[in-house]
Symmetry: C2
Subunit: 421 residues, 2 copies
Amino acid sequence: MDAAQIISEAAKRARLANRTLVAASNDQRSAALYKISGELTRQADRILAANAQDMKRADESGMAQSMKDRLLLTVKRIEGMADGARQVADLPDPLGRTINARTLPNGLKLTQRSVPFGVVGMVYEARPNVTVDAAAILLKSGNSALLRGSSSATASNKVLVEIMREVLATTSISPDVIQNIPDEDRATVTALLHARGEVDLVIPRGSASLIRMVVDEATVPTIETGAGVCHVYVDDAADFNKALPILINSKTDRPSVCNAAETLLVHEHVAEKFLPTALEALASHGVILHVDGKTDAIAKAHGIKVELASEENWSTEYNALEMNVAVVKDVVGAADHIEKYGTHHTEAIVTENEDHANQFIALSDSAAVMVNASTRFTDGEQMGFGAEIGISNQKLHARGPMGLEQMTTTTWIVRGEGQIR
Amino acid sequence: MDAAQIISEAAKRARLANRTLVAASNDQRSAALYKISGELTRQADRILAANAQDMKRADESGMAQSMKDRLLLTVKRIEGMADGARQVADLPDPLGRTINARTLPNGLKLTQRSVPFGVVGMVYEARPNVTVDAAAILLKSGNSALLRGSSSATASNKVLVEIMREVLATTSISPDVIQNIPDEDRATVTALLHARGEVDLVIPRGSASLIRMVVDEATVPTIETGAGVCHVYVDDAADFNKALPILINSKTDRPSVCNAAETLLVHEHVAEKFLPTALEALASHGVILHVDGKTDAIAKAHGIKVELASEENWSTEYNALEMNVAVVKDVVGAADHIEKYGTHHTEAIVTENEDHANQFIALSDSAAVMVNASTRFTDGEQMGFGAEIGISNQKLHARGPMGLEQMTTTTWIVRGEGQIR
């Protein structure tokens, strides 16, 4: 079978199996997730053995340490996956919600109800925990999952899917609602992205280049996730006692994730006052600073080491302890900078002036705007979604963190007594 | 300038101009639409003169009559466009709605608010009224419109956009929120479909081939509209006094539109009883019948002219007075047929049995399911949306008729007092 056939067959099985998932009650879907959670913990040794194979190949191929960190499974990480599945099980049922209901003058009764997409593809990279996280969210939301992970995690992914399917085989839900897609070559990714009509949605999770490839190639509807060039703007009406912790937290709490800040913007009236402390604090956290001319002058006057930023720096997502710093005229200047270099993910303003905050909100074209809070709060769990399958960086369908509700679509049910037009 | 530059420049102007639209209140946006409505009526002669040029070229090029019908503008059609703009003006503001609001345990106040997409492209065919209909909906919902119509309607589209821009020039809203995209060659369509990052959304309106091309080519997010192979299933528990009018209305009321039915499915237990009357009635409305073997036998016994259906017939959207007819075993048989040949648009069941209705709803994977009502009700105006920019045939973002609310996305506004993670 070629890749297109592999995907077509998998999607057909997933579509047929989906009827068993739609027929299952919320309690049945949750019970299956509880069982999966228990088996993951119980079979930790089997998972670790598979992961050891992947780690061995990673060592042999000279994989970078940061990549190996993502690939590695430990008892603690397996428990994390198991906990995650249980948490998803406990969330409210996203299916069968009434989104809209009305009775028309002609007597027709309209109900708009949440239903699953049907067959959802995931394309992701090294981290094998995505296999369980995604499958759990898709199962709970009534969707069949076609999981195309990285070949570097092939043994880990295979055993994780096996365990989940073994559990489903003991329930009314067909195991074919969770399928591992062969990862030997890129052809299965391409086929998955072109299976329009057979696959309802593909979600990429991983590097900017993976996401870009998916978005460019796919004819199947996709949701762009990821890339965040997030900004912290310190206004002239900022309370520095809030600004400094927000800045440090936004940059250094977890630099590798998309809601970490990449650029600090400071109002010109408070630059002299705020920047020396801010730059010192960032430097003491090991942050490399790429700055504009005005910031450079202030840094030099205080003996703080900085580099002049290149044009490219302003739009770079470092995923590391590096940060751009610029002085701007005011809220509009900050918004203009963000519009030019940002990725519409998350921007924060630190200000005590409500008008400035509202102006910043109105001018921002981003998934989330923080007023006096860290950019790190753009996160499904932090925002109370309970679980997150990714953070949407597009405007279509879902924007910002995506939980269970975002994994549903709707259908209109129209009940009449013979009405015609 | 090449096509990519033309689109890039247009999108940049549209983005900048969008700030004036976002700054405008709902009353200001509505007032602009009222003015546009008035000017369209007042300048009917100017519009008709431009349309006459398009019609002349259509005659010279030997355009088919059905295409010319779509291209033609009359005083009545211009009044229809003007009325439409006024109706859109009178609808509730789709912007600034609170979709979600919560306060987190850490004190963060979250609000999810509806905001415009920003810059929306429309790609459409001959009908010049789409120019005004789409511009009105996009203006009201705070979006800038890049309108790429058909070169066959170039003079009509140009003057319609000119009139709308002339009106906007007298308001606080920049005329650049409505722009005509040059239609001399296909290159501007291609460029529009690839302007990811500059254009937020592209909506195609027109033939199945146009929509397919847009969906296949676009890297900009799109919403697939259109193609409807809709089914009417007459159950063994059907009331024939409802079934017959629903069937005739679904097929013959307006055969050229996507919510017209293409296929009649009849439960085998009532086929002998229902089909003779049904086929006679369809034939008397001039409907050509493509049937399966069982229907063929019944038709022959009653001297009704039919043709045996080819495999291709079952998945054909005729947009004409033609219909497929098949006998099925039961609700599941009907659902299986629909799953195999349908386009997930609208299906109707005629039944007095509530269990059968619910089973049909559960097994249908369509934007709308009608119980004892005509398929023709899948329509924005009929369903009380007030206006419609198209009917989404995909599951992402919007499914079924799309009105003002569907032309918005959301943003999260998070207010804190210095919270960090």
